[in-house]
């Protein structure tokens, strides 16, 4: 949806500013040679989610019970033809989970919300991954408190873009030390790949999986 017309209200302007910060953080990291592909970001996202799901603070049992009830409802109360339709979820916040549970056979989920999206490059940066997990666990505690039924907007904002500051600090630190990638190694052994960027002054590892 290119050229989406925008209005001048506060929410829209705040969102635009957040999106501009995202673009800025991308631009800052670009000189470091960090350009993961869509597949590499996907692998890193999968591995981050698996780690987060194993975190001791993750409310797995409560969520399992809730999702089982939602899926059971979908199975028995919604015709199969409905659960196979593409899903449009306007004003969705960060709640993809209920759309997935109620419409498990949908070929596509189109979501629309006035929330910033965060930066997928976080999935390959260890500091970002750790921070995302920490913020996610806090968010899940809040969500569980509300029975996984609803969330507050400011909580969704916190978990949507948890690591912008970390990205900024990291890129600034690395740029200040004049780091440049001089070597990049990838292994594609079972389960994914890993890359190492070595510069004249620092050594950084990025995790694709």
């Amino acid at each position: 949806m290119q050229n989406w017309p925008i209005s001048n209200d506060t929410l829209t302007q705040d969102l635009l500013q957040s999106q501009q910060r995202m673009r800025h953080s991308y631009a800052q990291l670009s000189p470091l040679g960090l350009h993961p592909t869509g597949e590499e970001l996907a692998a890193a996202a999968n591995s981050w989610a698996d780690e987060a799901l194993r975190d001791r603070g993750f409310p797995a049992a409560a969520l399992r019970g809730h999702l089982a009830a939602v899926r059971d409802f979908s199975n028995h109360r919604l015709p199969r033809a409905v659960t196979r339709l593409p899903v449009l979820y306007p004003f969705c916040g960060v709640d993809l989970m209920h759309a997935l549970a109620l419409f498990p056979h949908a070929p596509r989920y189109v979501m629309l919300a006035g929330l910033p999206l965060g930066d997928p490059i976080c999935f390959v940066i260890p500091e970002c991954r750790a921070h995302m997990t920490k913020m996610l666990i806090k968010f899940m505690a809040h969500w569980m408190w509300n029975g996984f039924a609803w969330t507050q907007t400011f909580k969704m904002n916190q978990v949507s873009v948890p690591a912008t500051q970390i990205l900024h600090e990291l890129s600034t630190r690395l740029l200040l030390t004049r780091s440049r990638p001089t070597r990049r190694r990838r292994s594609t052994s079972s389960g994914g790949a890993r890359a190492t960027a070595r510069s004249s002054r620092t050594r950084r590892s990025w995790r694709w999986a």
């Binding site: 999968n46 799901l53 409905v82 659960t83 919300a113 999206l117």
Partner: protein
Amino acid sequence: MPPLVLSLRLMGHTIEQLHLSEDATHLHIRTNRSGDGTGPGASASAGAGAAEGGADAAPVHRSRVDYFSRTIALDPEVWATQLAMLRHTVLGEHGHVATFFKAAEGLKWAITRPTFMRWVLDVSAAVVQDETGLRPSGFDGGWVVRTFGNHSELARSYRCLGMDANNLNDGLRFGVGREEALALRMELHDTFQGGTRDLPFPFGYASVRCLGGPSGAGPPATGLMLTAWRSSLLSAGHGE
């Protein structure tokens, strides 16, 4: 973004491709999943390999997520343009969609505007929503409508959450007067009379803490849900 990725993984999806547009407004995710995603082992088996489970012969289900980081305009003309763009995006390759609304209290007055309601009903073959979705009266005889939950129970939940369900002035900035707000409230009350069974899980602004949690001593947690689908959807041979 983290909750989106986590939800996909939790529900048994393996993310194959993840791309954020340059202007940071559109996230596109492609996934695959073994099995039908509805069995007891399809999700919530937290940990590595959750998405890889399933029988060898299980079919692979591929799906996409398109998340647009956008706000809607209050100006009706701008909004109309946005809806036209959204329609093109949503229906570009599909006949109709299932539209889902949940916990959109801040936007319920926008959602219940006639222009938006007509738009949603036009692009949808099914709608699943709580009380913040379309006006129930918008579904005519061509729709099969079912309701879950009791409006009076929800009013208790709203009070507990500090939300004023009786505020008839909060729609004014959308051009919704007190009379229309009152009419909507009465419509919800009449629609959700508790004649149908309660939901088996908290939904929308149902408050577990106020209404008694699943393991609590009070009555079971509930919310309001309306499900609707075009009767022609099933008669077209899709089956129920």
